[in-house]
């Protein structure tokens, strides 16, 4: 089973081009704005419902694509809510994993007895921006396009890998796709390889955005995707400006999930992050927000968040991403050595590199308490992130400890390099010399998956489309290959244990309630983690300053930035 979350890729891609946002740090002190729980979500001016006005979205780079069939990017997913709809929708609520709700479909799908067939029915009155009706065939065509991987190299594949007939080559070469049936204009039936309990979450991905075949301009579809949502593209000057205006063919009655408050969204693309943060902090543009990671804040901007006037305009919230340090289990095969390495690392110093506690919480597990059915997680790691050097050294007694290790990092990001510097110093205590090896950011994950996997590498995991499910984290990160014989493709530490991997393989097809399944996955995870294939570090918390006219600004758990769906503007 190939199941990979998109967020991780998206984060990597965004960071690759974003400036080296955020380098400073601080330790245990919580953000001053949050009383009590420092990591509670902060929504700016909640409960606003007036329509009208323009929201100015400042971004440091253009969207990689606007084509729902070619998008693995959170930013595209965020803006995509405004102009395309999908069968189901991952609806954001601040601080919560998204809730899967019906969107184009009347419900979240009907599953067959054997769990291999899911059926969805489209609502009535659905129209494109040109007034033509949205049909089940269009949804099917949208999914088909994502199989043309030679054309859409970034097409999301989570859904595709769950469906049968996965040798399909896409509509341009492969003809009709047998895994999806559309008996009429309203009904759409998916055939799966294996049962997949979280299937409703998979169809919330952009694959199921309807694309009218007649309007498919292939690679150039990104320049003007046909709108099925509340807004449509008014103008798009690549690299400079995107303007979205209301789509008068959109019927709010069919769409309870989208408040669609502003009349217009104006995206300024490729404004430098310094400018963005400066503009936001100084409230130079009261209608402004940003979609850049970390709210485009620079390390030195952290001080301004202590200003009450500014913190009142700062939306805050976790995003689904948890960063880890992955240990190559092939080159560091002894679990005790891995544990010693894990114990020797000063994770509080790493937290500083993320900007301190305000920008991320130290975690000892990749599983969050929001996950359904979570069982108790145990870890020998110090909860404050301090190294346990004596314990680590004791573990290494009499072992053949490697003299030299390599830490690989994406070359575009200052922070990841700094983490290496911290690691270098920590491992010196164990008598290990660490070499820091930059890897071109664009090739980073490919390198990790290939022969270039270093001994230690940082990665982020954002929990997949359904971030409330433990499976969506555990399986792709640590699970076995499709045949259960080796490690899975996104398994960066290359974890494979005959017994544990077999258990995970079997769990994939298991049925049961979400709680039951969640408990089973988290138990496996607990056992896997006792061998330290990876070291959880930081659960990122985004602070995003918005203009003073901006209302209902919440940080999306999935988007890691202001949720464009809910935002409004005071006129």
């Amino acid at each position: 089973m190939k199941m990979r979350a998109t967020k991780m890729l998206a984060a990597a891609a965004v960071v690759a081009f974003g400036l080296t946002a955020c380098g400073g740090g601080g330790a245990a002190k919580a953000p001053s704005a949050g009383q009590g729980d420092p990591y509670a979500p902060v929504i700016v001016e909640q409960g606003f419902s007036e329509k009208g006005g323009t929201v100015n979205v400042l971004m440091s780079s253009d969207f990689a694509t606007l084509d729902p069939g070619n998008s693995n990017y959170v930013q595209t997913a965020n803006v995509g809510q405004l102009y395309y709809r999908t069968l189901t929708m991952a609806k954001e609520t601040a601080g919560q994993p998204p809730e899967i709700v019906p969107d184009l479909a009347t419900d979240t799908g009907q599953v067959s007895e054997d769990g291999l067939t899911w059926t969805f029915t489209l609502k009535d009155g659905l129209k494109y921006e040109d007034g033509s009706p949205i049909t089940a065939q269009d949804v099917k065509y949208g999914v088909e396009r994502t199989y043309a991987r030679d054309v859409y190299t970034q097409a999301p594949q989570e859904l595709n890998s769950a469906l049968s007939h996965d040798d399909y080559k896409g509509p341009y070469k492969g003809g009709d796709f047998k895994a999806i049936e559309t008996p009429d204009e309203k009904t759409i039936i998916f055939h799966l390889k294996q049962p997949f309990a979280e299937f409703p979450a998979l169809v919330s991905r952009s694959n199921t955005a309807p694309v009218p075949e007649a309007k498919d301009t292939k690679q150039d579809y990104t320049n003007h995707p046909v709108s099925s949502g509340p807004y449509k593209i008014k103008s798009y000057d690549r690299g400079r400006e995107l303007v979205l205006e209301r789509n008068d063919q959109w019927d709010p009655a069919t769409d309870p999930n989208r408040p669609a408050l502003p009349d217009e969204f104006r995206f300024s693309l490729s404004t430098s992050q310094s400018t963005i943060s400066q503009k936001l902090i100084s409230d130079a543009d009261p209608n402004a927000i940003t979609l850049d990671s970390n709210g485009a804040l620079q390390a030195s901007d952290a001080a301004s968040l202590n200003d009450e006037k500014i913190s009142a305009r700062t939306a805050g919230g976790f995003l689904g991403c948890i960063d880890t340090l992955n240990l190559n289990t092939e080159t560091i095969s002894d679990p005790e050595i891995r544990k010693a390495i894990a114990l020797s690392i000063d994770r509080s110093a790493i937290q500083v590199q993320y900007g301190g506690a305000r920008f991320g919480q130290l975690v000892n597990s990749q599983l969050t308490e929001k996950m359904v059915g979570l069982t108790e997680q145990v870890s020998d790691l110090d909860p404050t992130g301090k190294p346990k050097l004596d314990e680590a050294k004791a573990l290494l007694e009499g072992k053949d400890v490697p003299k030299e290790l390599v830490y690989g990092y994406a070359n575009s990001t200052e922070r990841y390099k700094n983490i290496g510097t911290v690691l270098q110093q920590n491992l010196k205590e164990l008598g290990i010399t660490l070499e820091l090896r930059p890897i071109p950011a664009a090739n980073y994950y490919t390198t990790l998956a290939g022969d270039g996997m270093p001994d230690i590498a940082r990665a982020g995991w954002c929990g997949g489309a359904d971030s409330s499910s433990a499976r969506m984290t555990v399986d792709p990160n640590l699970g076995p290959s499709l045949d259960g014989k080796t490690y899975g493709f996104s398994n960066i530490p290359r974890f494979y244990d005959e017994e544990l991997s077999k258990r995970m393989y079997e769990l994939r097809g298991a049925t049961g309630t979400a709680e039951e399944l969640g408990a089973q996955w988290s138990d496996v995870y607990n056992e896997v983690m006792a061998t330290y294939p990876l070291i959880p570090t930081i659960h990122s918390y985004t602070n995003s300053v918005v203009g003073s006219n901006i209302r209902n600004a919440q940080v999306g758990y999935f988007f890691g930035a202001i949720d464009l769906n809910t935002v409004g503007v005071e006129q």
């Binding site: 070359n411 071109p440 490919t446």
Partner: protein, 333 residues
């Protein structure tokens, strides 16, 4: 003259071809695999292969190069087999990273670079040549020594230092000027001339500090040399006024190397002032090129390298031609 131009343009084409070939070749050895880069974390070897085919990277080196060249002559087909699209002339390919048409990217970036160049060139020419001339006229006096000292200091200021210090002082501390925004491409837009000027002012100054200093030195040295020429003595012996001697005889004769330098600098600047654009986040050619170069985006890097080489060579030719207008001795030959 026409023959000369014809030959220079011919040589220019050949040089550009060589530049393109070298750039193209270099990238075959690049660290970044564009195919792998274009499919990100979810890559399977099979997907990388598909991406490779879609980007045309599966073809032999020379086929790729010829395909690239064909885009310079006429429209060209791009994209995965079966889903090709026309890339209109002049086609420089599409970005491996964003799939954007490179010609459009360049057209988008150029106004920023031009804005940066125009202001900076005007500023440094006026300041540099003016002060250089003034110093030459005051040779050996206090003003001269001060200017020469300042120029020595100026040429020793690296752009990153000047740029960051300017940002620190005028944006960070004093707050007199805003961070550069990409919304202003020209003085003819919404922001108007004033907005344009304030937007680019610091970047201009950062460049002008370095270049003015160089121009002060070259102008001063040239003028001093010119002032010691025999014909300047003749001009004095005729009883001409100081102004006539300095400007009509001296400056006219001493300006040639400055024009040369200005032409070459202008050409180099139009190719993208990499550091300045980076520091001040001006999304011009240099800025785009840095992104492309560090991420292995071959079509973009190639296009900007070639464009930059084109500007350099073009201004070389312009300088040569302008000699004919300045110096009658060149006109005959």
């Amino acid at each position: 003259m026409i023959g000369f131009l014809f030959r220079r343009l011919g040589a220019m084409l050949i040089l550009l071809l060589v530049v393109s070939f070298i750039t193209f070749t270099l990238f075959q050895f690049g660290p970044a695999d564009p195919a792998a880069a274009s499919c990100g974390q979810e890559c399977t070897p099979e997907r990388v292969e598909q991406a490779r085919i879609a980007l045309g990277l599966d073809k032999p080196f020379f086929v790729q190069y010829l395909a690239f060249l064909s885009g310079l002559v006429g429209p060209r087909m791009l994209g995965a087999p079966g889903a090709e699209q026309v890339c209109a002339w002049p086609c420089l390919g599409k970005s491996f990273q964003t799939n954007e048409n490179v010609t459009d990217m360049i057209a988008n970036a150029l106004p920023y670079t031009v804005s940066l160049t125009v202001g900076a060139v005007v500023l440094w020419t006026v300041v540099g040549v003016g002060m250089g001339l003034f110093a030459a006229l005051r040779k050996g006096k206090l003003a001269d020594r001060l200017i020469v000292g300042a120029a020595s200091f100026g040429v020793s200021l690296p752009i990153p230092v000047t740029g960051l210090v300017l940002l620190l002082v005028f944006v960070g501390t004093l707050g007199w000027l805003p961070f550069t925004t990409n919304a202003i491409r020209s003085p003819f837009g919404e922001a108007g001339f004033f907005g344009w000027t304030t937007n680019y002012l610091l970047a201009w100054i950062a460049l002008a500090v370095l270049f003015s200093a160089q121009y002060v030195r070259i102008t001063r040295n040239n003028m001093i040399e010119t002032f010691s020429e025999d014909f300047m003595r003749t001009a004095r012996a005729k009883g001409l006024s100081r102004g006539t001697i300095v400007f009509k005889h001296g400056v006219r004769a001493g300006i040639t190397p400055i024009v040369t330098m200005l032409g070459l600098d202008l050409g180099a600047m139009l190719g993208g002032a990499v550091l300045t654009e980076q520091i001040f986040s001006v999304p011009g050619l240099g800025f785009t090129a840095v992104r492309a170069a560090t991420s292995g985006d071959l079509p973009v890097t190639m296009a900007i390298t070639m464009l930059a080489a084109f500007f350099i060579i073009l201004f070389n030719v312009i300088v040569d031609v302008s000699y004919a207008f300045i110096d009658p001795r060149v006109r005959v030959n």
